[in-house]
Symmetry: C2
Subunit: 496 residues, 2 copies
Amino acid sequence: MALFTASQNHFLAHEPGLNRFRVVRAQQHMLLLDHPKTKTANRATRLAESLSHVLNLHLHPTSHKPLDLLSVHEEKHSTPTMSPRENISEKWREIQGFSDWEEILDPLDPWLRREIVKYGEFAQATYDAFDYDSFSEYCGSCRYNRSKLFERLGLDKNGYTVTRYIYAMSHVELPHWLERSHVADTWSKDSNWMGFVGVSDDEETRRVGRRDIVVAWRGTVAPCEWYEDFQRKLDPIGHGDAKVEHGFQSIYRSKSEATRYNKSSASEQVMKEVTRLVKFYKEEKGEEVSITITGHSLGGALALLNAYEAATTFLDLPISVISFGAPRVGNIAFKEELHQMGVKLLRVVVKQDWVPKMPGLLFNERLKMFDELTGLEWVYTHVGAELELDVHSSPYLKGGLNLVGFHSLETYLHLIDGYLSSETLFRSEARRDVALVNKSCDMLVDELRIPHSWYQLANKGLVCNAHGRWVKPERDPDDIPSHACQVYNDHLGIVM
Amino acid sequence: MALFTASQNHFLAHEPGLNRFRVVRAQQHMLLLDHPKTKTANRATRLAESLSHVLNLHLHPTSHKPLDLLSVHEEKHSTPTMSPRENISEKWREIQGFSDWEEILDPLDPWLRREIVKYGEFAQATYDAFDYDSFSEYCGSCRYNRSKLFERLGLDKNGYTVTRYIYAMSHVELPHWLERSHVADTWSKDSNWMGFVGVSDDEETRRVGRRDIVVAWRGTVAPCEWYEDFQRKLDPIGHGDAKVEHGFQSIYRSKSEATRYNKSSASEQVMKEVTRLVKFYKEEKGEEVSITITGHSLGGALALLNAYEAATTFLDLPISVISFGAPRVGNIAFKEELHQMGVKLLRVVVKQDWVPKMPGLLFNERLKMFDELTGLEWVYTHVGAELELDVHSSPYLKGGLNLVGFHSLETYLHLIDGYLSSETLFRSEARRDVALVNKSCDMLVDELRIPHSWYQLANKGLVCNAHGRWVKPERDPDDIPSHACQVYNDHLGIVM
């Protein structure tokens, strides 16, 4: 009767709200079994070793952890979570990468660090506000309307206003991409909320030296099947030899008259809104304007497609991309065209994260030497400058293979906050709240006593009504995705 | 690179707060894989089939579900969750089992149904208020003090007051029993909150015809190792041949001067408090007094040990046990002694639940015929009257093997609420909130749109402080387990 064994404790209930991680998370749990008694565990251990080998991961545990980690952490409980915002108006072009960040990445300029975190938090907002509940009729939408989003997530401090939400669909069947409601009368069967367009307010504009239009793209961990299926499928982009991955392009470009939220594509929605903002601030008000596009994982890939299109449209505007843990997107011609058009791309990558090594992990990393032999014209390549982070630099993070944790955007933000240079240890003045790292993963050392994957709703959103019954409350009508509001956007008093 | 497959989605993160279910839950997830592609899944399917065979489970799906289930469910959203409380003072002895429930179980007397649910909700309270958070310094305690418990759980309507909390430890190493904090300076390294003693208030006393002392024991699913290890280990109880399972007895009887909460054993704590209440209400105030002991799973086993002891102490008091999904506890002599002492036991069991078949599933069920051959004097046996419920009687519950769901106390309470007789369908007037079933399992049909395992704290108890940092708030000093309060219990103005 030895049916129940302790080593099965890890295979527990599905946590909705984390579908973007589901494949990796499952994999992580396969790999991180700490009772290697069973056959499964032994297989998992071997798998971990071999995967680790393929990924060139260095899995020695973090060394020299300060003993008083917890007290340091607790001392910080009563300090602000961020350095004061300084006026960077004199230096903004350098920070946006006009000189390709050549002098300011290593050591990392503190003003640049602050800006990277700001954009990363915009990307994080697209996860934090996403409705993953498949029993909700609004599954796949944003839980708050755009005027409330930053306030609800504590991001109003950044001094930006969201002016439009982006919705996307895909004509191509993409595994594990679309989050869809189980409910028949859902807000949308085809589209997902995919991010937002925003703009700096007057105060922030003064601080950063120009009116900054930001586009943040929501990510998702594309499963391996995706990369397997699509790594040979490249679609042309532009008029030259540039090609990009088929699935990313499909999400960026798909539209259908039969849908409610994608009668226009994500691309069209974004370009229309950015055009409107550029017209208003640059042409009508004569301000200096920049475009900054950000995204994590798949969102980073979409950011690059978006930057390519923006650069072909706004020939004289500074366009920068700050991506986090993004996979490769296109071929060498795509890279070269982006470079020629002056798009500035800063790729933030965690050394131990596998996603930036996709697609073509095996081909690109191992078989580069065979390129000429095999004539692989499709070989994917990375673009732009790279800021490489290392999970071992932080005394707050656990050792061990943790695929979900390595790829989590909150891990990225934590590591950036602590990054001084490639040669130095974690920055002791780092102030960002360490607890955030464990929002959707299990990366913090136990001594900190922060539960793993703690970002969750009370009772999964059910509330007890006056009769003592647990019901799903109606969503605030304000926060129900409205197709109409998207079309007639009258913020800022602009008549379209 | 087919490392990530959809069939692994089920093996996801550990949900604390459900440790009592951890083994069964893990098993369930092993069994219910819906992508039987992998080796693991095939093994799991075979395991499910063979387990189902051993348990004599009938796994045909629920038939004839009303099509308007959701609308019926939603209509009920604005009705009270329980039938009105009627005065049962004339009939209370019958309801407490004086005639062994012979005439009132099938069909089930509606007043008895109402009382069974009341006691079941007391047992459920011991789960709902338990602190399972291993990063909390109060892990293993009750989250609220005894004067707040019922109010916080919406049980004040029942008309009882909690007068004492019960703490238990075990000298025997019991697998997966004790919930223990990871934190060094924990409230207790050895003890867990194990239930409470309460008493009916004046109004409830008038309604039920006597002053009712209630003892509710917290359960936990004892893992199979336990049954394996202990099924041959019986300890004597009393002065005759009666013997009971070693592990249950250890939890009930262990104490140590070196601990803070178990200088006296659970048994001593309960008996002292019940004695005090009996003295006050019966001897001083001359009231009629009853003792009702309840518990689910392991809690049901402890309830029986407690009833045995109470019966030897209070020879002339009516003592009843209402247990839910409890395993077998002792040998035939134990059963006979309980019967002779006049203890009334109503065992509520779900036909598909495996726990009441333990320990000795194989021996007792299959090998009964060999008893004489093998001379198995230790054979465990059940005691008292049985009310058998069937998950297939409810149109709200899913078909399919669901070991966690079959054993969940909330499933029991739902089925009792809908039970009319062994011959009839689910009671259409059943009013108890159906959503409660899914608190800690996944038993409700999807059409109801109730998320599974929804009973959870917002952000696992972390809150955002004034500086924007996520911290674990200090527990309300009122709700910190206090050793002192337990000793000098001055509720009701009694000086001890």
